[in-house]
Symmetry: C2
Subunit: 437 residues, 2 copies
């Protein structure tokens, strides 16, 4: 099975005409994989799809009716480029729960936070610039960044999130080397894919380092409201409003199908952000914005959020229990306190990408760790998501995965004892991930 292919083909009549930023794009292995993983007999621990069946459909239907009945033509018309002012106010209310005192006037509504990642990259990045990001990092962010021909420089995570000492060393090295670092990209809460949260005690230091090196912080927080035991610490944006662009999303706490994300930007960036948004797609849907506004203004969204947390907490528990029960010694994993993901490390000599074909044959899928690095790291890691499959399927999926790992370890021993050579770095670029959120 071929798990990776270049989009560029020798017989492509346009091959000499593409822009440099998109010329070498590759569809990652994940795209090819997903066609297979979506078969019903495969337990997919790969996708990041929220469990939308947990939403109260009758109530959502009421909201839709209300929008049509009360907003009429306006809800079907073009909206302003910055987004519905009522929605922007409601979003500032949501952010207040994370300690953020922001103004709706500094919010720009986007097509999910993915579009905000694209637009911020476009505003700041020239070819050869550097973005500092956690290693591993959200694959969609790496994909957005790669189109602007930047170099992503990864800083390692541990169980308390981004390592500030490693960040300091990296920023100093890049400064010595004369590199232009445009921003630090971070998912501080319930990290995708690592499942960890940046400890409260590290947050000021991270911000101080960014300020000292004149580096903007891009705080991406789609999972912050999905804490299982408690809310995460105050947002980075709450601690440093002038040097943090905060990205939010309703995709994980309401409906991804409405495509509502937003950026809360320092006032100095607002006008430019609106212009870039308008050049990208004029405006977001007035209809879906009106639905989102009414949901958070007039409906019991807190109860729905509580239900969602409960769904995901149970699934997290099932996955962690199953991992502890079934997975052989030598494999380690993170213990998320919110969000969708567990990050697992195999013994160094195992190659998660090579193992995937066998896993799919055994009817379980995951995302190989290399997808979450821009530089070939992550070969023996993998991301497991517990957000979408029901608990018994998660249990069965982990059981199947454990069997595959067992076989791999067995094979490695049979081939002549440990340790073998570590797997080769994954050099495929992270563009095109086919549905991994």
């Amino acid at each position: 099975m071929t798990l990776s292919f270049k989009v560029m083909r020798a017989d492509d009549p346009f091959r000499d005409r593409y822009a440099r930023g998109t010329r070498s794009m590759t569809a990652s292995e994940i795209r090819a994989l997903f066609a297979v993983a979506s078969r019903p007999e495969v337990v997919s621990l790969a996708g990041g799809m929220p469990f939308t069946a947990a939403l109260p459909f009758d109530v959502v239907g009421d909201v839709l009716q209300e929008v049509v009945a009360t907003e009429g033509p306006a809800a079907l018309q073009y909206a302003g480029g910055q987004g519905d002012p009522r929605l922007r106010e409601v979003l500032t209310d949501l952010m207040r729960h994370e300690g953020i005192r922001g103004s709706g006037g500094d919010v720009v509504v986007t097509e999910g936070s993915q579009q905000a990642l694209d637009l911020i990259s476009r505003m700041f990045c020239d070819p050869g610039d550097v973005i500092v990001a956690e290693g591993p990092s959200y694959v969609g962010a790496l994909s957005a960044f790669s189109q602007y021909q930047v170099d992503v420089c990864h800083v390692p995570l541990d169980d308390d999130g981004l390592d500030p000492d490693a960040l300091a060393a990296t920023l100093e090295r890049l400064e010595r080397d004369g590199r232009r670092v445009k921003f630090l990209y971070t998912v501080p809460n319930f990290h995708n894919p690592a499942g960890v949260t940046l400890a409260a005690g590290r947050r000021e230091r991270v911000l101080e380092l960014a300020r000292r090196h004149n580096v903007l912080v891009l705080e991406d927080n789609p999972y912050g409201m999905l804490g299982f035991e408690s809310d995460p610490p105050d947002a980075l944006r709450a601690l440093d409003p002038d040097n943090v662009v905060y990205l939010g999303s309703l995709s994980k706490v309401f409906c991804p199908g409405l495509r509502i994300g937003w950026a809360l930007v320092p006032p100095a960036l607002r006008e430019r952000m609106i212009l870039v948004k308008e050049a990208a797609d004029l405006c977001s849907s007035s209809f879906t914005q009106a639905v989102a506004y009414r949901w958070f203004a007039n409906y019991p969204w807190r109860e729905t959020l509580k239900d969602l947390r409960e769904v995901y907490r149970e699934r997290r528990d099932v996955m962690l229990d199953a991992l502890a029960e079934d997975v052989p010694a030598g494999v380690t994993w993170t213990k998320p306190t919110g969000g969708f993901y567990v990050w697992a490390r195999l013994p160094d000599h195992l190659d998660a990408r090579a193992m995937l074909a066998k896993a799919i044959t055994a009817r379980v899928a995951y995302v190989p760790g290399g997808a979450f690095y821009a530089d070939g790291q992550g070969a023996s890691s993998l991301r497991l998501s517990y957000c979408f499959p029901p608990p018994d399927r998660i249990r069965e999926g982990v059981r199947r995965l454990a069997g595959v790992i067992d076989e791999e370890l067995e094979l490695a021993r049979a081939l002549g004892g440990l340790p073998l050579e570590p797997p080769a770095p994954d050099q495929s670029r992270p563009a095109g991930w086919g549905g991994v959120q």
Copy 2:
């Protein structure tokens, strides 16, 4: 009144960090203007907003209910990056009316056709590349192009659309100069802003010239279904499937607030286009796509389209009659047979941008012609739209405008006889047009 301002400010703490492509973005005069033009006492002949009040709201409400009732969780979930396969099939049915035999597999759904303009530019354009475009051209396209630091080279229009002789000369000159022309951008039907349609007899020649010079054609057709007397000639895409990217939009024939556009691309471009779309915003809204699919699959959209054509035809008639009655000699204008716009030319020594402040004082607004050129042309032209205001307001608006032009001509005569110096070229870049579609 200041009608134009740079977004860049001396006290912007980020001023040294922006990307080259967005550093010099300016909010055009139109943005500042629109705040004023939206006052109820001003007749706005400036905006390009469709008259959504003509849509059958009860029926649209039924469609929304149907989506919620029958598609449930899926309509609120992430969609595939390429777009809903059912919608893509329906869009190929629509395109069949324009002679296009395309496959839904080669359609990529976008956030309005504006996003398609952005994505195609991203796929092809490096700094210093050239895009050939009609002069004047759609301001949103110029805005998308400008972010990729391309040079737009305008080719003049006449009443039969793009002038093929001028196109031939331009392409030859650019080739001689060693410039890389990435595509020809054209709105062949009911042009925005010029109101003209590319004659059937010119279409093969335009395509042949593009092929000969190895230049892709980007055919933007949001108004093609809005012909008042007859349908336009077969689409360029129908005549040359391998070298034309066709852009469609539901914003002018259904609801702009759903943000549904699409690109029908040559098969060789499909995979790359999907990757670029996913990097931009993962996917379009599954909900709005389901609404659009059901509307065109199951509802009497042809009747709605007929109603819309009738609304716009009547308004076109009113505007043309009023212009003929009220506007002083020396002003000329186009006679659109579909779409939303009339393009008017003042005597050369009048400056449409300078005149705008006076027009707004006289409670009428338009878009100065300079906004539709990347190179400072268009200073004595202006775009008048008849799509949104009711007929009596159009009549009143033209009357007010005629009064302003009369005064300007009077003033010019008083200042010492004609001709005066022609106005200075408009050097502001066309980024940010604040709601002009």
